[in-house]
Structures are given as C-alpha cells and as structure tokens.
C-alpha cells in the first residue's frame, strides 16, 4: 500500500505494478539477463531432450575399421552416422548423452529444491510464528545441528546411510533418483528454514499483521494469507542461488559414483568415465559434460544475484 507514495520516481505519474517494477530493476543488470538466458537454454534442453538429441543416449555404436571408441568430434561410423561431439568409451553419442544428462541434472536439482523448500518453509514458518517458544527452540537447534556439517560431507554420509542405488524402507521402495533428491533436500532444507523464519519474524512485527490479529483472523490464516505472499521474493532468491549449489552437489555425487548410476546419462558420471582417457588426449570427453555443468552453475548464480538485486534494491545498493 505504501509503495505508491514512497519515492520521487512515482510522482512522475507512471504507475507500475510490482511485476513491472521488478522487471525494470532486473533488466538494468546485463549479467543477470545473461543468467536468465542461460537458465532458459537449459530448461529448453531439458524439456525437449527427446526432440533435440540425435540418438538414443544409451545406444552403442561401433567405431569404423581403424578407429576405436571414444571417437573424436565429427567422426562417422561405417553406416555414415555423424557424431557431432564424438563418442564415449562404449561408443555412445556424447551429444545425446550430454542433452539427456542435462535433463536428468535439472530433474534432480528442481526436484530436490522443491522438497527442500517444502520442508524448510514449513519449519521456518512454524518456528517464526511460535518464536520464543520451545517449538522455535527445538526447530532452530535442529537447523543449527544440520548446518554444523559440511554440506557435501553430510550428503555423502546420507548416501552412506541409505545405501547406493535404490533403497527399500519398510514397504516403500525408492528409486535411486528419488533417494538422491531426498538426500539433497535434507541437506539444504535448513537454509530455507532460516530465511523463512527471518521473514516471518520481520513481518509479524508489522502493523498489518497486528490489524489482522485484532480483526480476529486465526494464526494459520495470517500465516497463509498475509505473511506467505511477502515471503515469496526472498524464498525465490534463495531457491535460485541454491539451484547453483544443488547442481554442483548432484554432479559431485554422481562424479564420485555415489549419485546417479550407469547407464543413466549423467554429466557427473561422464566426467568420471573420462578420467581413464585423460592421456589419450580425449579432451571432448571432458569438456562437454564439464562445460555444461559449469555453465549451468554460472547461469543460476547470475540469475540468483540479479533476482536478489531486483527484488531488494536497497540491499543491492548497500553492497556496491
């Protein structure tokens, strides 16, 4: 409500919606726009993987006479099939594997962030709303304990606890990919809990919440109707920055052989396989998956920074 009367800019008569204002702020920063474009590119690859990839990612092709796998970029097999980015040690097309690998990577990252957000936001909202009570104390000490672990060490230990590959807990069988999502979600949910608690505490002190309380709204109603909308921007910023971290953690686990398992195409696993061919000069085997992971992390970092600056301009100015 206060937004329309706050600053001089608005007196020029241009009334902007919040979304327009956000876009105006976001557009100003070229680097974050670049980050947005990179993220869109990855989303495109992931969604349309089956249409873009030239071959089946796990189909094996024979090298022509006189050559052997892995074949360098622009090689052809005896039937004249072109391998734009070469083949891997089993004769699988690297381009197709990279595209499907990107899809898997984003699947895991988006899935785990969604679960982490769900757990973290619920914990944080509850703790913030019950601030100062034993509920708050209990939840926040749990968060402290989780954050005391170095995060990759915790993720690896969790994989160690659940076991490598798919797992059975009582009657439920979890596929490997769901298990990895859970492991990463557990590792990173405390960070969402902290952000959410801070937002709730901050908003609870404001007049509109007091007004809602006086008019007799229930606690749950205030949380959902009044406070949640205000929590969306900081949570979105956190999620975008955490996407970069999650992409790194997911591919690290796969690289170590503790994440996605072959023959599923995974960028981290591809890099691990490439290690055996380092001295054959098989650079394409390393550069393609490594470059794709790096660019994804870069994109999400830039986007996250841009979102943070655009959604909270005051903070951004302070940082400069």
């Amino acid at each position: 409500m206060a937004r329309e009367v706050q600053t001089g800019e608005y007196e020029l008569g241009a009334h902007r919606t919040l979304l327009q204002e956000f876009w105006r702020n976001f557009r100003r920063n070229k680097l974050s726009l670049a980050g947005g474009v990179i993220v869109l590119f990855y989303a495109f690859l992931a969604v349309f993987a089956p249409l873009i990839a030239p071959y089946d990612p796990i189909e094996q092709f024979d090298a022509p006479r006189g050559m052997r796998n892995p074949m360098p970029p622009l090689s052809r097999d005896e039937d004249g099939r072109l391998f734009l980015l070469g083949t891997d040690k089993f004769g699988r097309d690297i381009l197709s594997r990279a595209i499907y690998g990107t899809r898997t990577l984003l699947e895991v990252a988006v899935g785990s962030i969604a679960v982490a957000m769900l757990i973290g936001v619920t914990m944080g909202a509850l703790a913030g709303y019950k601030a100062g009570t034993w509920v708050d104390e209990l939840l926040m000490r749990a968060v402290d304990i989780m954050l005391a672990f170095p995060s990759l060490v915790l993720a690896i230990a969790l994989v160690g606890a659940f076991g490598i590959g798919k797992i059975k807990i009582g009657p439920i069988t979890l596929s490997n990919i769901v298990k990895i999502m859970l492991v990463i979600a557990i590792t990173y949910s405390p960070r969402f809990a902290r952000v959410m608690r801070a937002v709730v505490l901050q908003e609870m002190a404001k007049d509109y919440v007091a007004a809602a309380k006086i008019t007799g709204s229930s606690g749950a109603r205030i949380l959902i109707k009044e406070i949640f909308p205000n929590a969306i921007p900081p949570i979105v910023v956190q999620a975008s920055l955490m996407m970069a971290t999650t992409v790194l953690t997911t591919s690290s686990l796969s690289f170590l052989g503790l994440g996605l398992q072959p023959p599923r195409p995974s960028l981290g696993l591809m890099l691990n396989e490439a290690r055996d061919y380092l001295f054959w000069g098989a650079w394409w085997y390393v550069v393609v998956p490594g470059g794709l992971i790096t660019l994804a992390i870069l994109g999400f970092n830039l986007l996250g920074d841009g979102l943070r600056d655009a959604l909270d301009p005051r903070q951004a100015r302070r940082r400069r």
Binding site: G160, G163, L271
Partner: protein, 321 residues
C-alpha cells in the same frame, strides 16, 4: 574472555555431541548394515549373522550402542574399521589421513591468499575499470567451475601441453622427496584454492571500498590525503575481519572440497577415506570421518572467534547480548 572461551568451547562440544548422535542414528537406518558388508556371498546363514551382530554389539538396544560408542570416543577409541582396514582402529587411520588433508589445505590456503590479496587490492584501486572487470569475470568463473572439472582439465592441459604427469602420482611424504611432494600437491592445492581465492578477493575489494565511506577516512580525504593511500591503509585494515570470516568458512568446509580433490588426484586424505568408506559400507569408519569433519569445523570457528578479538580489540567477549 576466559568465560567467553569456555562458553564457546562448551557450545562446540555440544554441537559435536548432537551431530555425532544424528550421524550415529542415521547410519543405523541401513538394514543389515555392516553385517551384510562382512558376509561373503554364498556364506550367508542366520547363525553366522547372529554371531556377528552380537560381536559388533548390534543386538544391543540403540541407546546402549550409542552410549558404548560415546564412551569409547571419550577414551579416544573410535571403534574398529570393519571392511576397509580390517581390524585397525578408526582413530589411528583418521589421524594418519588427516595429515595429508591438512597439508593440502594449508598449501591451498597459501595459494589462495597469494592470489586473492593482489587481485582484491587491484580491483579496489581500479574500481569499475578494466582490471576490476577482468578480476570479476575470473572470480565468477572460478566460483562456477566445479572442482572436479577444473582438476581434470588441469591434468589434461598439463599432460598434453607440458607432457608432464603432474597430479596423477598420488602422494609422497615430504621427508622422502620434497620436490616430488610439492609437484604432487601443487595441482590439487590450486584446484582447492580457486574457490577460496575468488571469494576472498571479492570480499577484500568490497570491504576496502566500504572503508572509504567511513567518517575518519572522509576526514582524512578532506585534509588532502590521496585516495589511493587511504584505500591501501585503512581499507586493508577494515578488510581483515570479513576476510578472516571468509577464510574461516572455507577452512570449516574444508572437507567438502577435499573429497573431490583427493579423489581426482588420488591423495590418501580424509576426503577420499570418506568416499571409500561409503563404498565399502564401513560404518565405524564413515562415522569417525564425519565426526572428524564436524570437529574440524567447530575448532576452526573457535579459532576465528579468537582471531577477531586479536585483530579488533573493540570486540568484547561475553557480556551484552
């Protein structure tokens, strides 16, 4: 100061206790667990299983198992490695491996500081000019490149370019072959140091520029002292505390980076031990390494707190909030 230190130490010990309990319970989620890992295929029979469970104390109620383990830890006994180092005490193995990780960490920190200080100072002096932009892009690239990609890329580049096989030879103790020791640790230390160098240099730049806004610096400027000199003198002092924080954070999460780096460069440190332990399902070993990782972090945080007080005497411990 004394009471503050005692308070922080007790808090650190409580953190260790809580995390160890968490990891202990988590690692018991696995059905069968260490017993499965010990029994060879084709030799599975219920009686053998029961015997093993009894021998490992797995038939005890959960709280007794934890109490037993904790009692051992108090006496410096972290249990016995079951699979990887059959029968050897976990504590000894961890201590041995920790040496390698610590050397790697110190070397990488030295490299990071040697790069970050010039880079941060130059960025601050030429703010928003070409050198600043270049360092910004390099730092961004350094933060975004995963250690495993950077490590492999370095091995390939040096292998193909210089025709040298640095970084694939594993580890030699310093006493045996100092030059070989250095060559084998150099690449992993560079890889591990990149992230730290990037974040320390950016933090240094921001903090130095922030100092310019402070009143005493404004006064000095008004009195005609050159800006450049002020950035260097007051900026650097102002930057020390945030930089120590960043260094502390990196050192606390040391094992995160060490896991990947040690695996790529085949170094026998704590990080590679953790991965091998998980593969082999050597639960006592994994448990020990994770507790050690948290312990390192707690110790580093304590050290950083102490450094704050030494660097900035205005910081008073205890009292207040």
């Amino acid at each position: 100061m004394g009471t503050y230190l005692a308070k922080r130490t007790i808090f650190g010990l409580l953190t260790l206790l809580a995390t160890s309990f968490l990891i202990f319970s988590l690692l018991r989620v696995v059905p069968g667990g260490p017993v499965d890992a010990l029994i060879e295929e084709g030799w599975d029979d219920p009686e053998l299983r029961a015997q093993l469970r009894h021998k490992l104390g797995l038939d005890l109620p959960f709280h007794l198992q934890y109490a037993r383990w904790l009692g051992g830890v108090m006496r410096g006994d972290f249990g016995v490695s079951l699979v990887l180092y059959q029968g050897e005490p976990v504590g000894g193995v961890i201590l041995e491996r920790f040496g390698v990780t610590a050397q790697l960490a110190l070397l990488s920190l030295a490299i990071a500081l040697a790069v970050a200080f010039p880079a941060g100072i130059i960025s601050a002096l030429w703010k928003d000019k070409l050198p600043d932009h270049i360092f910004r892009v390099v730092a961004l690239a350094g933060i975004s490149t995963p250690n495993f990609f950077l490590g492999i890329a370095l091995i390939v580049m040096i292998g193909v370019g210089l025709r040298r096989d640095w970084g694939v030879g594993g580890y030699v103790p310093f006493g045996e072959d100092p030059w070989g020791w250095f060559l084998r640790l150099l690449l992993p230390a560079i890889v591990l140091g990149t992230d730290h160098a990037a974040s320390i240099s950016r933090m240094l730049r921001t903090a130095m520029l922030e100092a310019l806004g402070k009143e005493f610096v404004l006064t000095a400027r008004a009195m005609g002292l050159p800006k450049r000199e002020l950035i260097l003198r007051d900026g650097l002092r102002n930057a020390m505390i945030p930089v120590i924080t960043v260094i502390g954070n990196s050192a606390g999460a040391l094992l995160d980076g060490a896991v990947i780096t040690e695996v790529i460069f085949r170094l026998p440190g704590l990080g590679s031990l953790l991965v091998q332990g998980v593969y082999a399902r050597d639960l006592p070993l994994v448990q020990g390494v994770v507790v050690a990782a948290v312990g390192i972090r707690v110790a580093v945080n304590l050290l950083v707190d102490l450094l704050y007080g030494i660097l900035d005497p205005r910081i008073r411990y205890g009292g207040g909030s």
